[in-house]
């Protein structure tokens, strides 16, 4: 685990009731805006509390630190934390944050992404205020374009919901609130891993909150999340393996909990009354690229699929691979069973962990292509209903996971 390499604390802050943290890597161009908005939120809604802004950085060399310190924070003090040179990872930034939160004896912690372009001071209020009441963890709730957040829609949301029985729509939303007590839980958890130290951190925190029965609420943000959205067919990177690997890894640690969960329950929502719901900007996807990435898997992953999947599911995957473009469909139940068989295979260590995760990516592209085609003519709201129905399929199919897990 990484120790904080560098800390700059020009105002010598030693205690703070409230922390707003902004994790970053190479965000010099954008970090000023969320910093200023966060400071406004603190001044406007939490002026009676001692507070500090913390930039948790990966030793960016593009001037992120300077941009953070240059932003106008209306007198709210700032701390800059960094991992050592060469140590990357959003999770490593968070781990530095958890330590600092404990050290500062903070009660309320809000985290917002450094590349946010739509943040308002109210986001700080909505993510922070529930923590002043009975909640211990706050996940964001924003209207996202139907093609933004496809790992969330296809994997993170339906899986965590079916596993842990809580409906948290954005479990890897990037913007969160958690209590100082939760920071201690995070620091003490024996489930930290290399994937968690990277992009697995968001799903790790949400899962730990669910698994520890911490009262969770979803904070309605009013505005859509506008940030550097990515085309799921082109930009995926290691994030996929880190998020999905963390979900599978945590399933091993929490078996006694999720096996007892049946169906799911809604989660409290905080923060309505922000007026008109603003619609998110469109996100472009390349269907051709998704199709090409899916079909490529038949050349590169066929043998590993055969080892991970049961003959029935393997054959069905082969069948949909033969479907002509205009008839292409990856049925939701097949997708749920595929993910459940992957989780069971990860548990049973049937194949190398990284090979397993890499081989899921082409199937995920196939599922995403199917989702894009089915929701093509749907409004954002209709696509939400579509996803809700898919989640029900995951819940109904959960006994299949229990069977596979026990084999």
């Amino acid at each position: 685990m990484t120790e904080a390499f560098l800390e700059e604390n020009p105002q010598r802050v030693t205690e703070a009731e409230m922390v707003v943290a902004i994790p970053s890597y190479q965000e010099a161009r954008l970090i000023g805006y969320p910093t200023t908005q966060a400071a406004l939120g603190l001044k406007r809604y939490f002026n009676d509390r001692s507070s500090v802004l913390i930039n948790c950085d990966n030793n960016s060399q593009d001037g992120t630190k300077e941009a953070f310190f240059a932003a106008d924070t209306e007198g709210v003090p700032r701390i800059y934390l960094s991992t050592p040179p060469g140590v990357r990872g959003k999770g490593n930034n968070f781990r530095n944050l958890f330590r600092k939160v404990v050290e500062l004896k903070a009660k309320v912690v809000v985290v917002v992404d450094a590349d946010l372009k739509s943040i308002s001071p109210q986001w700080i209020k909505h993510l922070g205020e529930p923590l002043c009441n009975e909640f211990g963890y706050v996940a964001p709730l924003y209207v996202r374009h139907k093609y933004d957040g496809t790992i969330t829609n296809s994997i993170a949301y339906p899986l965590t919901r079916a596993l842990y029985g809580r409906r948290v729509r954005q479990p890897i939303g990037g913007d969160f609130g958690f209590s100082g007590d939760m920071a201690r839980v995070f620091l003490a958890s024996p489930t930290w891993s290399e994937a968690v130290a990277q992009f697995g951190i968001d799903i790790w925190m949400t899962t730990l909150a669910m698994n520890n029965n911490v009262p969770i609420c979803q904070a309605y943000m009013g505005r859509p999340k506008i940030h550097k959205a990515k085309d799921p067919g082109i930009e995926l990177g290691p994030m996929f393996s880190q998020v999905v690997g963390t979900i599978f890894q945590l399933m091993n640690h929490t078996t006694g909990y999720w096996m007892r969960v049946k169906w799911s329950k809604p989660t409290s929502i905080y923060g309505f009354g922000l007026g008109e719901v603003e619609m998110p900007p469109p996100v472009k996807v390349s269907e051709d690229k998704l199709a090409a990435n899916f079909h490529e898997g038949f050349d590169t992953c066929r043998e590993i699929w055969r080892r991970i999947l049961s003959p029935d599911i393997f054959n069905k995957v082969l069948e949909i691979g033969q479907l002509p473009k205009e008839q292409f469909d990856f049925p939701t139940q097949l997708w749920a069973k595929t993910l459940y068989e992957y989780a069971a295979s990860y548990h049973h260590r049937t194949v190398d962990e990284q090979d397993l995760l890499n081989s899921l990516i082409p199937l995920y592209f196939g599922k995403t292509l199917s989702y894009v085609r089915k929701t093509e003519r749907m409004s954002v709201q209709q696509a939400e209903e579509f996803i809700e129905n898919e989640c029900m399929v995951f819940e109904e199919t959960k006994p299949y996971l229990l069977d596979r897990w026990g084999e």
């Binding site: 006694g256 909990y257 329950k265 809604p266």
Partner: protein, 125 residues
């Protein structure tokens, strides 16, 4: 026997639901508006609430928020004649929703699911 609270300002709906759900073995109580709903819930301690979205003097989605703020895990099923309410994100705080119908099969299925939902209260590894 599970106790169900039906909140609806239409008398015939309260009557129909009460009859059908009593036949199913539930204990049913009713309210004809959202007036003092939280106090009623506090007093009666229902296991599940069936809540009409559009009542003359009350917005069911606002009542849902009030219920959820106070009773984190109390199952609530929204009932409505139209599905346009889903455009309002407040509706996701409900366990389920059903479109009003004289055929109560869907409602009964959702009641069963809501009552058998199990989320453990303590961590066990």
């Amino acid at each position: 026997m599970a106790k169900i609270l039906i909140v609806d300002d239409e008398e015939h709906i309260r009557f129909l639901y009460s009859e059908e759900l009593t036949d199913e073995g539930f204990e049913v109580i009713t309210a004809d508006s959202g007036y003092q709903l939280l106090e009623r819930i506090e007093k009666e301690k229902p296991d599940l609430v069936i809540l009409d979205i559009k009542m003359v003097d009350y917005n069911g989605l606002d009542l849902l928020q009030d219920i959820r703020n106070k009773y984190y895990d109390l199952p609530v099923i929204l009932c409505t004649a139209y599905d346009t309410f889903k455009e309002d994100m407040k509706s996701i705080a409900a366990d389920f929703y059903v479109i009003k119908s004289f055929d109560l099969t869907e409602l009964k299925n959702k009641i069963k699911m809501a009552l058998e939902t199990a989320v453990p209260q303590s961590r066990e590894q």
